[in-house]
Amino acid sequence: MQEQGNQQLRVSRQVRIRNPEGMHLRAVNLVIQLARRFQSSITVSNHNLRADAKTTPMQLLALGAQPGDELSIEAIGPDALKAVEAIVRLIENRFEELPPEG
């Protein structure tokens, strides 16, 4: 889903948690590190809870994202598409590791 032209993109995507431990502590840390590489503001939602992906690791953990939960990743900003894709991939890859930077 894309809106608008160049500068302010809004992108959102659903992704299902696949790893057996859910979005655990280290996973939260990886999400944060990855999110901070992008200019866009990024949020992660689960059920009716929403957390900022760059600044609120505690909220991310408290999403209680368990295997089977469907998370919604949303980004707003110039690199919104890349940001959402990167985070979706991290989750789909079961939080194995961060992609190389750049």
Partner: protein, 580 residues
Amino acid sequence: MQKLQGIPVSPGVAIGEALVLDAEGFRIPERFVSRDAVAAELVRLERAVQAAAEELARHRDTITRELGPKYGAIFAAHLELLQDVQLREEIEHLIRQEHYSAEYAVSRAFRRYAQAFQRVTNPYLAERVNDIYDLEKGILRHLLGRRREQLSDLSSPVLVLAHNLTPSETANLDRRFVRGFVTEVGGPGSHTAIVAAALEIPAVVGTGAFLTEVSGGDLVIIDGHNGLVILHPDEQTLARYQHEAEQARSLAVRLQSLRDVPAQTADGVRIELMGNIEFPYEVEHCLERGADGIGLYRTEFLYLGCETEPDEQAHFQAYAQVVRAMGDRPVVIRTLDLGADKVPCIQRTEEERNPFLGLRSIRLALRNIPMFRTQLRAILRASALGNVRVMFPLIATLLELRQAKMILADVMEDLAEHGIPFNRDIPVGMMVEVPSAVMLIERFVEEVDFLSIGTNDLIQYTLAVDRTNKDMVGLYNPTDPAVLRLIVMTIEAAKRKGVPVNLCGQMSSSPIYTMLLLGLGLRQLSVAPSAIPEIKQVCRSVRIPQCEAVAQRALSMDNARDIRSYLKEELRKYVPELAD
């Protein structure tokens, strides 16, 4: 108002201020600061968070160096959590707007996050709540610093609320100020239950998680009769419990007057009413209520909470203190009755899948003969000082009983050889608490001097129900007809042989069952010291033929619930003040 249902393990009502203990025994009081102090609290918070962050960074570096980045990553993640922008805003908001002290605000904010985890069902993820507690502690340690309140340093009455209490924690509690216990886990056999009963203060265990709902200083009611814990009670509830507590106090005063009269039925039959104790100081509780003896002296406390095996002198001193205090009244000392998992000084080969069906109690003693001999030597030495009897727990087969008696005889020879005084005719008895022992009770009575029915385990093993399992409390019934049948078989066999029989389980301590037990033919009861006056009151209010009629009727019924409500009715008829 919030009500929690747990397992009642020590009766009474307590109303008071909560002391919430986490694993490190922190006590976070609800504390407000004045408007002028808000800025200073924010500075304290900033410093504490800084210090906690530095500590985490150090841990991260050390662990990464020593174990590799994978392990260090946990601390890196903690460090991130600590720097959560929204969390920090919340804490600061509580200080600015609510005028909370920094530590109370931190505790409040973290509890809210911990609460969010309660709906997580994935076990691994649910465990992460402990990471949150760790972080909280990391900050609190720096905030509280030297001001950290010590459990041993209380100055006002409190109700202790904890996940679980370890023996060392309970040992450190200042007994003068603790008015009640609640633990999230544990069952009737838990350490908390034993200590609460010994201190004679109300206690409820096995409530399930609730500590996130309550803060230090909150008003809490513990209803130790019904296993209820009430957080933030409304006025009506509070008034009702205050009334109940007041009544209990005046009843206790009236019962106190029974101290010097014998436990004798209205038609003149003398009942031997004895006390169950765990700790030597409880002998005072028995004496001040006029107990006829100690019907069960548990010795497990000697083994719990210490890394090394207690030596003979430690045993002897504990026994001698009780025996001397009781003069010529009987003291029944029960040998070690613990599972292998509870005795720190025993080397275990493997985890047991069913500890209650495994290596415990007399079985453990018979496999660790040097340890068993140490205890028997001390008991025998104490037998020279007064009226001591020795009792073996959890006897399931005749061979176990014979083996235990053989070891006892052997220890006697040893003492005699060294000229150490002891009573060679010390009465030897056994606990009747395994159904197999009841099945063969005709044989057992030939080989013992007395019996004592342990209803707690007998119920558990008869109905195949774990009494510490919160979901199974409905099945665990002293009045189950099968249990009553086993009690009858035991009493009848003992009577035929002329062997005295006592009943020392928790069943004996509740006035509901007293008429039934007397009607079944028991003339000895051993009860919790706090229950002595009540049970004595029942004995003095009834006649044996009435009790026999009650027992006959109860035995004709076919389920535990009917029997229990029938017994309650009868008690109300004869001793109305104890029926509720």
